[in-house]
Amino acid sequence: MKYDMSDYPLKLEGDNVPMVRFQNVTKKYGQLTVLDGLNLDVAEGEMVTIIGPSGSGKTTVLRMLMTLETIDSGVIYVDGEPLTHMEKNGRLVRASAAHLRKIRSKIGMCFQHFNLFPHMTALGNCMEGPIQVLGLSKEKAEKRALELLDMVGMAEKRDQHPSRLSGGQQQRVAIARALAMRPKVMLFDEVTSALDPEVISEVTSVIRSLVDQHNLTMLMVTHQIGFAREISDRICFFFAGQIEEQGAPKILLDSPQNDRTQQFLSAVLDAN
């Protein structure tokens, strides 16, 4: 598909460069348009939560940012630099694998089904990236991994393989594994959806502590409206591949202007 790349800057410069920018991003699966001209800025240190009905494209937003999905048009910028594209002779062209890998290093992600490496211990999971990718020594990587496992309350289970951990424990290790790469942006993709209700709080409390302690930029997709209200700076309501409404949690959740937002919220709150 042809589109005019001159509309997109080679770099974002100035005072208020967002940590993440989606500029006119479109994603299609065959005939189905999942995201339709998405524009979204996330400031450094901001916690943005994406809610919406299934199929509204909210998970796709995170997956595109993690480069697990390609995009069909538009440009995604991370920390001022294009992620999906790169500069060549003064214009933007599709990013090479090396460029993707370089920019991707600023992003970490946690998944609905944890996706821990089953053949490694909790500690091994958290040391793998730092050793292989960041080139840390075994000692340094272990020290850092232990600090993070301690932070998520999993230091005691460091020598356990994932098969011996509960869902909540696995997700906490997965958060430590992602943080071990020192990302600037963390993505949480329905990280509590696969958990039993009684362990959800172990994971949400870890995420809450991240909001308090770190200057991390975070994007979260969740169905837990209460949790989103509590920790988000902003909530975006997605519908049919577009942001239907967005705003501070209080405003969006308590006095939504849009009919679809109202319908969605009342349906979700009834279900809870």
Binding site: S105, L116, S163, M181
Partner: protein, 223 residues
Amino acid sequence: MLDWKLDFTWEILPRLIAAAGNTLVAAGGGYLVAVVLGLVFALAQRTPSRTLTFIVRELVEFVRSTPLLLQIFFIYYVGPQFGLRLSPWAAGLIAIGLHYAAYLSEVYRGGIENVPKGQWEAARAINLSTVQTYRRIIIPQALPPALAGMGNYLVGILKDTPMLSVIGVAELMHTANSIGADNFRYLEPYTIVGLIFLAISLPTAWLIRRFDKALRRKMGLTR
């Protein structure tokens, strides 16, 4: 009636045991070629290059659809016409290694395809390169489930080594044939060959099962 000659048995036993050593070398060497080449075949079929995938796919299909004996003859007798002049041992190891590489590549492929998609995504999320992802994440998980299949082919390759006798590799079968022909007695050499094969393959199969279990436990794949 059964006419088993004990003194003849003792006389030929040392030669057969020595030949068993050659059988083990042939099976082990051939298997080594197959294990490495099979992985190359499996990975080649996963590269983005469609041409490479197609060529390797067809090669694997071709090898799997033609008899091993033909492949042995072909490499040894037809090879020289293409400037490929090989000793019986070299030709034999290449033929048997190539043959089993084709089968092992399918075992590997199955193992790799069984690794959940989420593992690839997690590897990308911590920014591992493609090579690191295969080496550190995918192959270690693909291997244990593939191990049973790999073990079967190890026993299979052992049982197929007698085919190398047709190009003069002095393994067990070849030696038993020549003992039989020299002495006009086949009962003792063939029986002993059968027993030696049993004595090798039964413990091998047992060891593979042990190894499989130990590996799964070590990797935390079973509770």
